[in-house]
Symmetry: C2
Subunit: 109 residues, 2 copies
């Protein structure tokens, strides 16, 4: 069995939730997100993150602003929009539902 693949599949969709949780309180640019997720024990690849951010932007859940860096090129800082806040609430509900399901199944028999 390919455990890595299963873990990868398990995280599908979860990533979106985790990133929006991250952006709840402060704007971040890509490397911030990668690092903070890493600290939370979740590995994200650039090739995963950038398309995801673009999609959330396109869907109106995220906005961004350019900020100069003290070192290197400018950075895109993403923020949650109002629609994003609302979507996050729905994701919270979905997460609770999954949590409930797994707990029910784990406790059975």
């Amino acid at each position: 069995m390919n455990t890595d693949n299963t873990k990868s599949q398990m995280r599908k969709g979860m990533l979106e939730y985790c990133i929006m949780l991250l952006l709840r309180h402060q704007p971040c640019y890509a490397n911030d997100i990668i690092q903070r997720l890493h600290e939370a024990e979740m590995i994200v690849m650039e090739g995963t993150l950038y398309p995801l951010l673009s999609r959330l932007k396109r869907d109106g859940l995220l906005g961004y602003e350019w900020r100069e860096s003290t070192q290197g090129p400018p950075r895109k800082y993403y923020v949650l929009t109002d629609d994003g806040q609302e979507a996050l609430r729905q994701l919270d509900a979905s997460w609770e539902e999954i949590l409930r399901t797994v707990n029910i199944l784990k406790l059975e028999k």
Copy 2:
């Protein structure tokens, strides 16, 4: 935003885990699984379940045996193999990891 799609995405991979949890203690056939998952507040489509069961069988994580039904055609009862038990332990670990990540992110700031 398409909430249904997000929920669907969130469940990718989770389904595999949930089904193996279900089969831990007793053999089930497809409709059993659909019904028991429904009771645990998770909806699964036939078109999702059958290919998934076939794949887990092909990977050696599940086995099955035919059993007569008192009513209707015979049923394929799936069971966890030893490899399946081992894989389930790894999935438990992956699940704990995701749980930890989400909790960390939810508690931040």
